[in-house]
Subunit: 184 residues, 2 copies
DNA sequence: TTGATTAGGAAACAATCATTCCCTATTATG
DNA sequence: CATAATAGGGAATGATTGTTTCCTAATCAA
């Protein structure tokens, strides 16, 4: 089931919702048409399930990146670096299903829009938390506005996925280095 | 012709390429099916023309925002503020056709991907130019890396459109204030 | 082993899509 | 004024879409 969903994630990330036909889905999930409709009510339900799987997987990866830091500042830096890496290469070209949903569906699908905003809020809270951790351990100045900075960083990360999908090269060290100025 | 294209821009921004049917297009352009196909070869050509019109209009607005600044730093700040404003409210909900094209089409349509990357490069060069102007007039420190900073700012602006489309509130003064730290 | 239940697959379905064709006004030209 | 030329509109057309239905094969219980 999860491996089938991974296929759905892949094709939905790459082509988005509307450009992905049931034929594309069955090929990517290695399932026949009838089997897909046995497991899910309709295409929309497959997409929602793929979204959940994507969010869970990416959440793990981001938390793992943060865990590799000794203090708040380093954890945040690792998270930013991780975002840049995931915005590049094959995965970058493939794209992010959260960004794709926000851009393609949030104007016409309230259910998905709510899920997208919830995800963005979760990610933003996570970053704001890292900033506050850094302020508590002394690695980030106390005068930094955690919420505003976190929101701007969310914009950066989402934008990285857009730019990465357009295949512009992204240098993790350089970009993260510049972005860390926001914590001055 | 331009007013018809404005309608196409509106509906393509809001729903993207694939979710916009010819019926949606004819309604937005106030033209019948046959008339659209008299003026354009196919749907793809309409989209490309709408992209060009959007890019021209937004380019004007951005240059106008920059013109209202006394030095490089202020011009850049006005550009960032302008981006935040355009990412909010009705226009923010509607979305950016460049971001939409990058996310929805750049993986499967080389023509549009090339147009998108060209637009991103143009915008990035414009911002890098403003940074260098600021360094020349003394409003921005010379040690700022113009190209890296410009690329990160492009990510920010594209991300603003993603977040704005998901309808998260964006405070221009606060976000621009934080972003200006990148010029320290 | 037999019978029942379920997972999986392929063809058929109605609806919608982009596109073409043809007709009607309207404008411009001689 | 008459006529050629064009812009615009709407119905018809294949192709493709998402979905349903029916059939086969496999799995588990008794």
């Amino acid at each position: 089931m999860d491996t089938a969903l991974d296929g759905a994630v892949r094709v939905f990330c790459e082509r988005g919702y509307h450009a992905t036909s049931i034929g594309d889905l069955t090929a990517a999930m290695r399932l026949a048409t009838g089997s897909v409709y046995k497991a899910f009510r309709d295409k929309h339900a497959v997409f929602l399930a793929a979204f959940e799987r994507y969010a869970a997987l990416r959440g793990e990866q981001t938390r793992a990146a943060a865990a590799r830091g000794e203090n708040g500042r380093e954890r945040l830096r690792n998270v930013l670096l991780s975002y840049v890496e995931h915005s590049q290469g094959l995965e970058g070209r493939r794209g992010c299903i959260v960004v794709g949903s926000a851009v393609e569906l949030s104007a016409v699908d309230p259910v998905i829009r709510a899920r997208v905003t919830a995800q963005l809020m979760t990610n933003e809270k996570f970053i704001a938390g890292l900033i506050r951790e850094g302020q508590a351990d002394g690695s980030i100045p106390a005068h930094v506005e955690a919420d505003d900075t976190a929101r701007l960083m969310i914009c950066m990360t989402q934008g990285l996925r857009v730019v990465g999908k357009a295949r512009l090269p992204l240098d993790g060290e350089r970009l993260a280095g510049v972005a860390m100025k926001l914590l001055a």
